[in-house]
Structure formats: structure tokens, C-alpha cells
Symmetry: C2
Subunit: 220 residues, 2 copies
């Protein structure tokens, strides 16, 4: 398993770096998906499920964490291309860090690249990484009030995955209220309630990702 140590970018403009990386990804015919959530919302479990469910898609994963290699090890065990990036204590990935991780990934023929951002519902939302698609996860045990408290993440994301819905019977989580709160912040957000454990809801999410990939690769 390949490990890269990253430091915060020193360039003046993260947005410019992000636009450059996005253009490069587009030219390479690869869609980068920035996956963001709190620690323990099920990012790696979701990605593992997608890799297993979509054998026809060549997938690469960049795992960003402050420490440990457990996530990249899990992804590699499934046969997908993976790299572990350590952020030198940083609580988020910026565009320069993402570009460096992408280079280290050596994606080969992978066309769908996931960036599993650092587990944090706040700071990652503030940095454009150059991704073509932004996906956030909120897990049922975290509570349906999170849109009220961390609005930027919901505003910035193209899709909200509500994970661990198999645990709905054990938690006081109002699915409709959560959706309503998220849509109030971001009327165009796509919402996918799923359980990576039982597979419920995965088909709709995966169809949406595949459509985004096809649109991304289509000539303009």
C-alpha cells in the first residue's frame, strides 16, 4: 500500500489550483468525487460497497487521514487501486494536496476516482479540491439536526447520502425532517438514504454516480 505525506499547499490561490486539477481530470476522462463526512459516518464502508457493486467501472481511491493506513488497506483488499495520504495534522484536503495525491495514485485506467476526505463535517467544505462531484455523508446516529449546525457542508455538496438507515429503529432520527432541512439549505441537493450493510438504497446512488461519470466523459 502506497503512502504519501502531504503538506498544506503554499500557492496563493486554492481555487485556481482546483480549477486546474478539474480541467486535467476532464482532459484525462476521469471524474473525481470528493467524499466528505464526520469521522465514522461510513465513508470507507460506502466506497467498499460501491467497488463491489460496480465491477464494470475502474475505480481509484485516495484515502486522506491524519494518521493510519486502515482505510487504504480495506480498499486495496477489494482489488481497487488505492493510496493513503497523510495530511500532516491538517483537518482537510486542499487542491494542491489533492493534485499531489492524484499524481502518487498513478491511476492507470481508473475512470472514477474517489477522494475520501479527512473525517470532519466542517473544514473540508471550505476547500475546493478540484473534484467534479461533491458527496457528503450523514449517518443516522449523528442526528437529523446536523443541517442546522453545519450548513456549509450541506450547501456545498451535490449529494447527501444518509447512511446507516438500517439503524433507524434504534435512533430518534426523523428522515423527512432531515431531508427538508438539507433542501432548505440547498434546493438542488440529491438525497440518497442508504445502508451499505443491507444494500438498501445503493442502486439509486450508484445509478446517479454512473450517470454523472457518463456526463463528465461525454464530449461537450
Amino acid at each position: 500500500m502506497k503512502l504519501i505525506k502531504l503538506n498544506a499547499s503554499v500557492t496563493a490561490s486554492n481555487d485556481r489550483d482546483a480549477d486546474e486539477l478539474r480541467a486535467k481530470m476532464k482532459a484525462d476522462g476521469r471524474l473525481l468525487v470528493n467524499v466528505m463526512s464526520s469521522a465514522g459516518s461510513g465513508k470507507t464502508t460506502l466506497l467498499s460497497r460501491i467497488i463491489r457493486d460496480l465491477p464494470q467501472v475502474r475505480i481509484g481511491v485516495m484515502e486522506a487521514d491524519i494518521e493510519s493506513e486502515v482505510d487504504a488497506d480495506r480498499i486495496e483488499a477489494l482489488g481497487a487501486k488505492a493510496i493513503q495520504a497523510h495530511t500532516s495534522g491538517m483537518c482537510h484536503m486542499d487542491a494542491g494536496m489533492t493534485a499531489a495525491a492524484y499524481e502518487a495514485l498513478e491511476p492507470g485506467d481508473a475512470e472514477l476516482i474517489f477522494l475520501e476526505n479527512v473525517g470532519n463535517l466542517i473544514c473540508p467544505a471550505e476547500y475546493d479540491t478540484g473534484a467534479g462531484l461533491k458527496l457528503m455523508i450523514l449517518s443516522v446516529p449523528e442526528g437529523d439536526d446536523k443541517p442546522l449546525k453545519y450548513p456549509l457542508m450541506f450547501q456545498e455538496s451535490d449529494a447527501l447520502v444518509i447512511s446507516k438507515i438500517d439503524a433507524l429503529p434504534y435512533f430518534d432520527f426523523d428522515l423527512e425532517k432531515c431531508k427538508e432541512r438539507a433542501r432548505k439549505l440547498n434546493p438542488s441537493i440529491q438525497i440518497f438514504p442508504i445502508s451499505a450493510k443491507t444494500g438498501e438504497g445503493m442502486e439509486a446512488l450508484e445509478a446517479w454516480i454512473l450517470e454523472a461519470l457518463n456526463n463528465w466523459k461525454a464530449p461537450e
Copy 2:
């Protein structure tokens, strides 16, 4: 419910500010407890339980969030003194922000003051707020691998509360492995597995907090 808007402190030394606030708290006979965790780990639920269980202790709570007043409203409904602090987008509280919130709280005769930090397992661990006691929460649904990924929070905390243990049957969480990983990072950390819902484990945690309060108030 009182709301204060805070900005990052402009002073040069957060550590000096923190030491000053700690000394002031000591002189006032008040113990400040910095409560840290990811979003949705159950900080407010834990504090609500402690307030209900310890009517003999005068408690004040400073709720720090990027937005919303839901937490302070919940605490006030229990009759405790509470203030909501908004962090102007900041992902953590520093000592100057904590001192400003403390002043706005007007704690009166409260002797045990909780700071509910912003929901984030990373950044709050990097800032001394001036608290006399640091308590972190990790909830069962987040997973037992979190000490591997976010070591600083475990190293910095005096106590680890493992919350939502009523959900243990539904999640793949190894309690002993989690304790072992936490103690490897911080051999002196106190560990309290609890359920604020069923009350399991609360007595030991509350006894430990009361002892810390008595020690704090005892003349040296």
C-alpha cells in the same frame, strides 16, 4: 436564550490566554470542563443527563456551534444556565473565545461549567481553552478504529466517554480493542462506557466529575 458571536482571538499566545482563564476559574472556585467530540456523538445528550442526575450541583453550559441555537435551548429547558456561542465559521474554540463566552454566561453561583466545543474530532484538540478538565466522547456508531485516525484528541483528553453503548448489539464495535487503542496513546486516560439513554455507566462518570470538582475547589 443568550447568544454571543465570537471571532478568533487576535492575541499572540493562546496558551497564555488559556493559563489566565484557568487561573481565574480556579480563583472563582469554578471547574471548566471542555467537552469535545465529532458532530453527533451525543455531547448535548450527555450534558442533559448530567444536569438531571446532579441536581445538587450548580451547572452552567456554554454551547459552541457554527450556527443554530438548538443545543442551548435543550439545556435551558432543563433549568441550567446556558449560553449559545457562534464561532463565525471557526471549527474550534480557542482560549480567548472561551473567556468571552464565560463572561457572557454570567455564571452566578454555577460551580461546574461545561464548554460544549464545536463538533469536530480534530481541531478542538489543538487548542487549550483554559479548561481544568478535558473530556472527549466517542460514540459506538463511529467505530473502534478512531484512536488510530485521530490520535491527538485521545492524547489530549483526561477522559474518554464511549457513548451510545446501548447500540453495541447493532454495530461492529470492539469495546476492549477501543480501550486498548486509547490507552496506548494515553496510558492515564479514564474510560467511561455509557448510555445516556439507559443511564448505564453514568454513575461512575458522574462520581469522577464530582471528585474532580472537589479536588479543583480544595485549597492547595
